[in-house]
């Protein structure tokens, strides 16, 4: 039976922000619909309303012309609307089967039979009795999808599903989604990745600042037209000139980096050796959870490993803590902006003061020199085009993009010789990503070096001079990035071999 989902005049207003402004859309089964927009465009609010997590201030949802009352996730489930969230809604410490059985109405035995049928039908291979925390992101997503399929949904909503997947996993996902679509499930696909829209979806609705700005057939669209609709302005294209500089000095050299942990949440690292030349960007690709966290913490000095040699500007720094490493002109931008890079409850200038200890005279005789810090902070805010000049603002009120600019600014204003960053553009919108990419290229142009650990292949190919892949705590060989293709990276990131 055909499904027809209609959203009529939905509005949702939060204090200081209109998340959805009179949104009306119509979807019919047999097609895959894209909902495209930058962060904060209101896509997630809309799908949360559709899945009953939040209720709209205004407007109605109709499924096959029946007016739905979606006041809880249960209502969405009853009405056969399935939802796979961007941040997985799984219980990490429970087994896969327990996760799936929690809202099942049948007994465990017949549930297991049904799950196995789904696994077989769609060619998923997942061990049902391991705890979810042992699964890869792609497998976790499959568990979420199975959970939806168990309720034979009419509508399946996928919220930014590929942000944690490899190229291969993404392809697999697309094949499954097309299969679901053929079986009559209406699919709504939320993303800010333009290429995915073009390769997967039949129709695309673009949202900007809470409003639907365009609805069109994807066959009439191109990457550029969609990007401009999404951002509302023309974007410059960034392409770095790759430098392979054989005779440049190695400024940073890591030897025999090993790391062992019995914590099941941590990944061991096995004999990593690599070096970075002056003015070069070394990209480290990989799916998250393959040891990037541990590697970053070791490079920044949060974890000290025995028998490792790290040479930086001809000095052995393997035993130094992060503060000492900073004094040798290293800088760090961790993945988690909120909990690792900045203290959200502190004001902007207080966050700036956190890591400039020695050179900047922020502290005199143990006292805080507020005037100096504030001046310095103002300079960062203007130099790095952070969207505020109020240094008294608490950092938690900055958007992700602005916070990242502030952090990069704080790190770069000391003119470091080496910047190590981990997923610097994670979760940011196109405008902010562009700015940060430009900044990172500028650093290399000034003969400073960068190590870019990232899960975003496109970003790595754009910015790196040489690329290596981390998989289960081991590095692949280091390749010049003009010899690397997304496909090659995808194979290496999935544990394959390209030779």
């Amino acid at each position: 039976m055909a499904t027809d989902l209609r959203i009529s005049n939905i509005s949702k207003i939060y204090p200081g922000c209109i998340a959805n402004d009179n949104v009306s859309l119509q979807f019919k089964s047999g097609k895959i619909y894209a909902l495209l927009g930058e962060n904060g465009a209101g896509k997630s609010t809309l799908v949360k309303i559709l899945s009953g997590v939040i209720s709209p201030d205004n407007g109605e949802v109709f499924l096959n012309e029946k007016n739905l009352k979606l006041s809880s996730p249960l209502d969405a489930k009853k009405n056969k609307i399935g939802m796979v969230f961007q941040h997985f809604n799984l219980f990490e410490t429970l087994s896969v089967f327990e996760n799936l059985s929690i809202d099942a109405t049948e007994d465990n035995k017949s549930l297991r039979v049904r799950i196995n049928e789904i696994l077989k039908k769609y060619n998923f291979s997942i061990d049902l009795d391991v705890p979810v925390l042992n699964l890869s992101a792609g497998q976790k997503q499959k568990v979420e999808i199975i959970r939806c399929l168990l309720r034979s949904p009419k509508v399946l909503i996928m919220d930014e599903p590929t942000s944690v997947l490899t190229e291969q996993e993404t392809e697999e996902l697309f094949i499954s989604l097309k299969k679901f679509c053929d079986e009559g499930i209406l699919i709504i696909y939320i993303t800010h990745k333009l290429k995915e829209v073009l390769s997967l979806c039949d129709e695309v609705a673009v949202m900007r600042k809470g409003k639907v700005v365009s609805v069109s057939q994807t066959q009439n669209e191109k990457v550029e037209t969609l990007a401009n609709k999404m951002v509302g302005q023309k974007l410059g294209k960034i392409k770095k000139k790759i430098k392979i500089s054989k005779n440049k000095d190695e400024i940073f050299k890591v030897k025999h980096l090993n790391f062992y942990s019995d914590d099941p949440f941590e990944t061991n690292l096995f004999n990593l050796n690599f070096s970075v030349k002056k003015g070069e960007c070394l990209g480290i690709a990989g799916i998250s959870g393959n040891g990037q966290n541990e590697l970053f913490q070791i490079l920044s000095g949060e974890i000290i490993t025995p028998n490792t040699s790290i040479i930086f500007r001809n000095k052995e720094i393997a035993k130094l803590n992060p503060k000492q490493r900073r004094e040798y002109l290293m800088a760090f931008s961790p993945e988690d902006r909120i909990s690792q890079a900045a203290v959200p409850e502190l004001k902007i200038y207080e966050n700036v003061a956190l890591n400039n200890f020695k050179s900047s005279n922020f502290f005199e005789k143990g006292l805080v020199n507020e005037r100096k810090i504030k001046e310095h902070s103002k300079k960062i805010l203007s130099d790095f085009s952070v969207n505020t000049d109020n240094v008294e603002l608490k950092s938690q009120f900055l958007s992700g993009g602005n916070l990242q600019k502030l952090i990069l600014g704080r790190e770069l204003i000391t003119a470091p010789e080496l910047l190590i960053c981990y997923n610097p553009t994670w979760g940011l919108d196109v405008g902010a990503i562009n700015y940060i990419h430009e900044t990172l290229i500028k650093i290399n142009d000034q003969e400073k070096s960068t190590i870019l650990i990232s899960t975003d292949t496109e970003e790595l190919l754009k910015l790196s001079d040489r690329i290596t892949v981390i998989y289960k705590g081991k590095l692949s060989k280091i390749m010049p990035s003009d010899e690397v293709t997304p496909e090659k990276l995808g194979i290496l990131m999935g544990g394959g071999s390209i030779d």
Binding site: L74, N89, E98
Partner: protein, 310 residues
Amino acid sequence: MSLDISFIGILIGSIMASSVPLILAASGELITERSGVLNLGVEGMMIIGAISGFALMVITDNLFIAIIVSMLSGVIISLIFGFLTQSLLTNHVATGLALTIFGIGLSAMLGRDFVGIPGKDFPILFSSLRESIPFFGPILFGHSIVLYFAFALPFLTNYFLKKTKLGLVVRAVGDSPASASNQGINVIMVRYCCILYGGGMCGLAGAYLSLIYTPQWIENMTAGRGWIALALVVFATWSPIKVLIGAIIFGGISILQLHMQAVGFRIPVQFLIALPYLMTIIVLVVISRDSRKIKLNTPTSLGRIFYKEK
């Protein structure tokens, strides 16, 4: 001191009796914590259970009513905690501490007229078997029904958490309340239930002290057992069976060190008094070394305030 076999039997029996309040309170708190709620009010709930049970025994002269009322009063006082933390979203730690202080004060006030009144003998089961079988008699028989219940409780709790649907829901809520809520589970309701259950078990633990173990009312008679129960839950890494082991070790060494003091071992008394705490921690740390298992048992959201998106 004669270390004959029947003496050891009696000793083990008394160790079992002394660990009962710890097992009850810790098993109750374990369920509360598995749902992600940290209730530091265990001591307060226990002492309220102790005074209300004793008072009702004196007033009605009926032990059954006394036991039921002690559990109910534990439930009621934990309801205050539940309302504050789940409905008004107050901080778990501060609210729990306040609950303990409140409970101790309230019990002292309510208990003024009950000091010095002698308790009543609590009926014991299989008392004839206790006398007739050497060694095993005093261990297995001649206890109150509450003791048998307490020793079954960790196994029931384990079964509940691992094998039942409801137990799965409790664990899920403790793991990720946001996910649970998005799956349509009423997180606040589940947590209320777990808090009230914990309160009921703490009330029963208090009643065991004032009605069975030392049948009388003394101000502040729980004497820190609530805190020990709380510590047991953490050191046992939220595993009911390890709670049982920890409670027995603690009760055992508490009794043994009394005997050692009486016999006059040349060990400083202060050390002997500290011994139960020390040994319990050491043993539980040693048996809980598997960091993988700890991760799987630890309620990830413990002590965090959950509020629903609107």
